[in-house]
Subunit: 341 residues, 2 copies
DNA sequence: AGGGAGAATGTTACCGTGACCACACGGCCG
DNA sequence: CGGCCGTGTGGTCACGGTAACATTCTCCCT
């Protein structure tokens, strides 16, 4: 799938000014120019001023490719996420990228979809760029890739998941616990009949299973479990509800794998004349804006994607700078009861 | 704002296997290994097979940093977008990144917010990485940056906009025309009183102005124009409607700068007991999923963000490979009448 | 049979920077 | 007053590849 572009003649340099030109104009050695840019406190003030003047005059722009080769630090992080079309991943990517940029790092984006092989391929491909760190979605499941990453001693931050044995650092929560907590929440409200509408992705599956197990544990009835495509959309929620509507009883509690699914289910339920929450209670996941801002507002599980992205960036920076940080960081989740339960 | 990370000791190489190791094992020159990877048709089949065996045995992973320095081709594109939190930008970024990846290019992501100075800074920062091309949102407005980009002879694809004089290639449409078309659409439906709810971003402003001018041109009445924060959300649409609700007449046509704003306005209007579309007609912009999948479905302006991202990728690849492509590519937009007009 | 073209591979010389070590200089100490 | 240390700066070379040119060999044509 990753095709090499055809060979082409060499392109002239983007900007022809290089560090030696600056050095010549300022009357110093190239190394001193490099120090002015990278370790300014090791250069005397007058020299630094001369160098900066030369940089401005020539419009010098350092070549980070060359610098990266020489220093073996690319000042770049690679992020492999399934998609940025869902708020679940775009929110943490947004804050992660911002926070890394504030600290002089750029983020290379690789989209893996929901396919395991594609994720492995993307990880291999980005490693060829020698990133200073890797941001991954979910724990790495492929053993050879895990080995590769561990052996490389590269900072790896995995988000949105828990695992017994993370590759390096993992920031997330137990999705099965989320499903169980939602089941308990419904049970406390007196529900006895349940259903779920869930995306075909590993984390959504864990939530669905956690929900189902807890329902069974209470000895109550799971009327329907419908699995939808990933990433699942409002439309998936609507069509999902249409498909299970015949299976629902007088009073059912529905767990949607994301707020988009929940919103779709809510929309469709009302069109069918089903009273929410009296006949159908609905709880989503993710606390996306839509669940808060629609009417009636949808009960959901709050998890702070933006916060996770920022934490991931801090962990990444700490690891890059040699700090030893805990291997697993639990992020709290919280059920937000609103009008649909 | 872009702080350099503190200096650190050199990191050991990610993978210690280099091209010379492969060459030694295969009994060929390093250059031949390079050719096997980059121009396989210039290597005899038996030699290529030996080299590939050596690559597999050693687990060799090429270093694109080194290759990029030597060849002056980074096989990387930098994308500067305001945010990926809005479907407006995440949709084209998704398809752009996918399409570039299929062709062996990675995408470096830089988020500029809606601040001009930040965009300039981000462009300068990413240029230090010597990308093979630049994807920008909207035409570059800063003259020194334009000059820099033009002089660098770098493929630059600007999307989501039109301009008399694009930096290189521009893919988009005239936002003022969109506003005018929406006004005409409302007028054809017999509307005489209008309002707009619009984000504080340059392109939304153009749509709003185009709308207002066309309303004035028809000699009709613009009751309210409310400017919201960017990127504007459902909540902005709701609070915006609350703020203008007192100004609205018996029958008003409202133009929202995005479907999120329109959805918020719709939600709030119904809570106020305003009949949609009889008392308040609403048209959004963007054809996001929410406008299609909510109830009642919201009339909107369809523009295909995913298509734009893919076109941008094709243009980018064509330019990188030396093709001369047209400077301006007009993307059609289309008003989709649904239940709110 | 000689020579020229073209294919396959090797050799050399960088690409632009930063790590490392050498070195000059001034001040402070015993 | 000599040696020692710290600061500021310069010189050299390696980082890991690839472009460009050189070389070898084969095959085919005249």
């Amino acid at each position: 799938m990753t095709t090499r572009p055809p060979a082409r003649p060499t392109r002239p340099p983007l900007v022809s000014v290089k560090i030696t030109d600056v050095a010549a104009l300022a009357g110093v050695a190239p190394m001193t120019v490099s120090r002015v840019l990278n370790t300014p406190d090791r250069v005397s003030a007058p020299t630094a001023a001369r160098v900066r003047a030369a940089i401005d005059e020539l419009g010098y722009m350092p070549n980070l490719i060359a610098g990266g080769l020489s220093s073996r630090r690319s000042r770049m992080i690679a992020a492999v996420v399934p998609t940025i079309a869902s708020p679940m991943f775009s929110a943490p990517m947004q804050t992660f990228t911002d926070t890394m940029a504030e600290n002089g790092y750029h983020v290379m984006l690789a989209l893996s979809g929901y396919d395991q092989a594609s994720e492995d391929a993307q990880i291999r491909a980005v490693l060829a760029r020698r990133p200073d760190g890797l941001l991954l979605t979910g724990a790495v499941r492929s053993p050879p890739i895990r080995e590769l990453l561990r052996a490389s001693n590269l900072p790896v931050v995995e988000i949105w998941d828990t695992a017994e044995d993370p590759t390096d650092v993992l920031i997330g929560f137990d999705h099965a616990e989320v499903g169980a907590a939602v089941a308990d929440f419904f049970v406390r409200q007196g529900h006895t009949h349940f259903a779920s509408l869930s995306a075909r992705d590993p984390r959504a599956a864990l939530r669905r299973e956690g929900f189902a197990k807890r329902v069974a544990h209470h000895g109550l009835t799971l009327l329907a479990e419908k699995v939808l495509d990933a990433p699942s959309s409002i439309e998936d929620g609507r069509s999902g509800l249409r498909q299970i509507v015949g299976l629902l009883g007088q009073r059912t509690a529905l767990f949607g794998s994301s707020d988009l699914v929940a919103f779709g289910a809510l929309t469709e339920a009302r069109l069918h004349g089903i009273m929410v929450p009296d006949q159908l209670a609905i709880c989503g996941f993710g606390d996306f804006e839509i669940s808060r801002a629609c009417h009636p507002p949808i009960s959901t599980v709050h998890v702070d994607g933006a916060e996770i992205g920022e934490m991931a960036a801090r962990e990444m920076l700490a690891r890059i700078n040699g700090a030893v940080t805990p291997a697993r960081i639990a992020v709290p989740f919280q059920i937000l009861p609103r009008a649909t339960t």
